[in-house]
């Protein structure tokens, strides 16, 4: 597919977009917390890919490139135009697929809490829990040291545990949140 896209076949490039759009769009959405901006950024990333296709060496390199460029562009946008943090009341706006099978409230709250992390910490968490990368892979993608990645993960998880624990009476089931607040201790 990559070779065919490289040869200028539009249908093959369309297939590449379809294959990777979930990952790219979701990274952009959870970094920017805005559907329209996320869609715009994700489209820009694919336009950039189209221009730089000859430099892509393999399917693995393509995935690496897309994650790196998406997160770097999102971080750049956030630096240029800092956002207000998303309140827990607005967290419902982040639910976008309607396919959550259990704990929908808790999942909304987790996403809202993630949106309150610094852009770099959020990028690390997204690569770890959305893309399932290990700390070494995250360090390479974000051009960070492995210790920085581990430190972001540790601090972000501690923050999430603490905030979920302290907000146990704010709407989600107490049993579910009780389990998570136990983890903090």
């Amino acid at each position: 597919m990559l070779t065919r896209a490289l040869a200028g076949e539009a249908a093959a490039f369309g297939m590449l977009v379809r294959t990777h759009q979930r990952s790219v769009y979701s990274l952009a959405l959870r970094m920017l917390s805005d559907r329209h901006e996320a869609e715009d950024l994700a489209q820009e990333v694919f336009l950039g890919l189209h221009r730089n296709l000859p430099s892509v060496e393999s399917p693995a390199h393509l995935t690496f490139w897309l994650r790196k460029v998406t997160l770097n562009r999102a971080i750049d946008r956030l630096r240029r135009e800092p956002r207000q943090t998303v309140s827990l009341e607005d967290a419902g706006a982040l639910v976008i697929d309607g396919t959550e099978q259990r704990d929908p409230l808790l999942q909304r709250r987790l996403r809202a809490l993630l949106a309150q992390l610094t852009p770099a910490a959020r990028a690390v968490m997204l690569l770890r829990y959305q893309e399932d990368l290990n700390p070494n892979e995250i360090a390479r993608t974000l051009n960070m040291s492995i210790n920085t990645v581990k430190s972001h993960l540790k601090r972000s998880l501690a923050t999430l545990r603490e905030r979920i624990g302290s907000g146990a009476d704010m709407g989600a089931g107490k049993t579910e949140l009780g389990c998570l607040s136990d983890e903090a201790g």
Binding site: A7, L157, E183
Partner: protein, 113 residues
Amino acid sequence: MSNELNDRLRAALRPVDPGESFTQGVLARIAGEPPGLRVSAHRAVRMLELRWLSGALLAVAAAGFLVAHQWQARQHAQQGQEARRQVMEALRVTSEKLDLAYQVVKDKEHSGA
């Protein structure tokens, strides 16, 4: 226990698909780009050709280096053989001269006696 938080984070961060309209939007934006920015088939083929060409050049350079290295090694071996032959020849001549001198001295001793 922390596995539970990991699982919940993974569930909360499941990737979502922006839909077919997104794909169409990307393709439409590419179609609307100035031609200079598009990856033409010609350019892509040229890139592939350049990659092949650079690979072939590298292979030729490596082969040339190997041949030159072997030729140089053979030259050294031949020079060594020649030097050895010359040393042996010199030793042989020296030995003959010494024999001759010994013979002359011996003959003189006999005639003196």
